[in-house]
Amino acid sequence: MNSKKTLIVSHAPFWHDGSGIPERSYHTIIAALPAALVGIAYYGVPALGVICLAVSSAILWELLFNYAGKRPITVGDGNAAMTGFLLAMLLPASAPWWLVLLGTFLAIVIGMQIFGGIGANPFCPVALAVAILMVSYTTHLDFDAGLVNFSLDFPSPTDPMAALKAFGPAAIENFRPMDLLMGLHVGGLGSGCGLAIIIGGVYLILRGFIRWEISISFIAGIFVTAMLFNMADPARYASPIFHLLAGYTLIGAFFLATESSSSPVNVIPMIVYGVMGGIMTVLIRNIGVWVDGVIFAILLINLINPLVDKIRPKAIGKVA
């Protein structure tokens, strides 16, 4: 009765659309690459060093934790490499080696692995790591202090966000939006060039790797809130265009807020989540003590994610 041929059996469906976690990770890296290349072009070899160290150490931390936790080796899915890459893009090119190692440790181990690995992290691991670094090592995350020894060919040698916080909108009058868009200002090594980040973000949206509702509503939230502040008192609050193009706004909108396991999946929650993030960002920037509010705003919306994601359409056939 038994045939000699061994057939493979499994449960339906027998087709798959071919998507996978490695693809998502590697395409996110590809999307982030243009912005990182611009950073390397402006800041030189130190920027390349930070990126390489971050990617490799992130992979190593995950591998170490896989062994320590006696769990399957998961570094092949590219998630650790992607996390390291995005973290490097937020750091200044002047970041010392130990800061990078610590950052990737925080992102991979504290941000993700201790919660159970990929898919189980309640916060965007990169945002969490950068937040801890920002609070703990203020001077190293201060772009003005860190990049003081770099000879940069920018219109202004100061960090626009810091200048705004310290001296008000008058201090940022010489930052033209076009320069901000092209990355000609002091900032994170991969988060400066708005144009490159937008290109990467649009790529991710078109390929369906991130959910566009989150990015668009995050940007809209920032724009509208900043505009309201600006209309109320232009002498104290910067224009919405400035808020969109400076600091971590765009990289936050396209790469951090969209981190899949810490963001909602239903349409209304995604919009609430994004808009809340935008509002919080501008509130922290305009009336808080921190220079850039994007990171903390994203951690805050990560917190409300499980709650807002309960707003979902009624499933069919439910009587109650």
């Binding site: 041929k5 059996v9 499933a315």
Partner: protein, 427 residues
């Protein structure tokens, strides 16, 4: 196999095959040397009635013991060579009967005596294993009277031609069958569900209300049709309380044919889908081994290929070429080992693709976490397990390649078992 498009923003969309897509007429597969048929009953002790070496006729009803309500119909004339236990899906234990066929068919005449007096008992005695595999229990359930008979005329899955082919070629038999069902049950409300593109082919020709459904997958899946007709979906107590009885057009055609000719139908219409995705139509005795069918069309099966009963979305993979085609096998699909997608044990990363594509608004990303942990009741109570219409699209798009559909089917099966055990205790 259809892959994700480059622009992943768009949802994948599948369409059922239409009646106009059917090109050829079915190829008649010659009667094989042996057939195997099942009695859906456990072989607890050796049968008092069936013995190896016993000769059977085509259309003869076989049952294990005196007074059994469960039986099967022999699809060939020949000699029983073995009676053995068979382990079916979900660990159900059936009895497999292997019959060595003889060259000439001798028709059994038992059924002919019942033609003049059709009744539910007759249907339940002779038809549960006829092509289309109807289940008559809902009609016999007096506590939950059936108000509407829904005849399902569409294809069971994408790529399959069988359902519409039967409706197209056996419209007369379907009409006869409807008449028999009406006479027996007294139910006037009969609805035939067909894809909207085919409505004009049938309206007026069939003696029932025609209800059209979209030809886009999964809008003709049985549960989706049920939802569109009644606005409800069955929970762990089953579909009984909905007052709607579901039967395939092929089963209705079998009933009609039998009551006109006096012979029980024993041939099943099957779509064979080869590795390249080409389709062949066949007509074979129930119980014909799959390998025999594939040989006829020159489909070569190698080690580690996959053979599927049914379509790519909702079928069942089988483990041997020797397994027979059953009364509900609408299609046989062969997949080359190079293109078999594998499942993984990765956790859900909450990418939202499943929620995006789910036609029933089930929060798949949440329910899968509970079902993977075996918390079926939570899944049903809080996360809409019974809204799932079992289309498999969530597993098709899953980035983590989680067997979501399997979890859902298993959860429903387990909860159904708990419910029926509780009912048994109450009685």
């Amino acid at each position: 196999m259809r892959k994700r498009s480059f622009f992943g923003l768009s949802k994948p969309s599948f369409h059922y095959e239409l009646a106009t897509d059917i090109a050829a007429t079915p190829v008649a597969i010659p009667t094989p040397e042996t057939v195997q048929i099942y009695i859906k009953q456990e072989l607890t002790r050796s049968s008092k009635i069936l013995k190896t070496g016993m000769s059977v006729k085509t259309g003869q009803r076989l049952q294990l013991n005196e007074g059994d309500s469960i039986g099967t119909i022999s699809s060939v004339t020949g000699t029983i060579v073995s009676i053995e236990p068979f382990l079916a899906d979900y660990g159900q234990t059936w009895t497999a009967i292997t019959i060595e066929t003889e060259s000439s068919d001798i028709m059994d005449t038992e059924f002919a005596d019942f033609i003049e007096t059709p009744s539910l008992e007759t249907l339940n005695r002779f038809f549960p294993t006829c092509p289309g595999e109807p289940d008559f229990q809902p009609l016999m359930d007096e506590r939950n009277p059936v108000k509407t008979i829904v005849i399902y005329g569409g294809n069971a899955d994408i790529l399959i031609d069988t359902g519409l082919l039967v409706l197209k070629t056996k419209a007369d038999a379907v009409n006869e069958g409807i008449e028999v069902l009406r006479k027996i049950t007294g139910i006037e409300e009969v609805v035939i569900v067909v894809p909207e593109e085919s409505v004009q082919n049938y309206s007026g020709h069939l003696d029932a209300r025609i209800q059209s459904v979209s030809s886009q997958y999964p809008y003709a899946q049985p549960l989706m049709v049920l939802y569109n007709l009644t606005g409800r979906l069955p929970d762990e107590n089953g579909a009984a309380s909905l007052g709607t009885y579901f039967i395939r057009a092929e089963a209705v055609a079998s009933i009609g044919e039998a009551f006109v000719t006096g012979r029980l139908p024993v041939n099943k219409t099957i779509t064979v889908i080869d590795k390249q995705g080409n389709k062949h139509l066949a007509c074979a005795r129930i119980g014909t081994p799959v390998g025999k069918m594939l040989d006829t069309f020159g489909v070569e099966v190698n080690d580690q290929d996959k053979i599927i009963f049914g379509g790519p979305m909702t079928g069942n993979a089988i483990y041997s070429e020797d397994l027979p085609i059953g009364p509900d096998t609408d299609a046989i699909m062969v997949q080359d080992k190079a293109i078999i997608p594998l499942y993984s044990d990765y956790p859900c990363i909450n990418c939202g693709d499943c929620v995006h594509i789910c036609p029933a608004n089930v929060p798949v990303n949440l329910i899968v976490r509970f079902l993977a942990a075996g918390q079926y009741t939570e899944g049903a109570d809080m996360y809409d397990l019974y809204s799932c219409i079992e289309c498999g699209l969530c597993s098709y798009v899953c980035s983590s390649r989680i067997p979501i559909y399997q979890y859902i089917k298993l959860a429903k099966y387990e909860l159904g078992r708990i419910t029926s055990a509780e009912e048994m205790n109450e009685q």
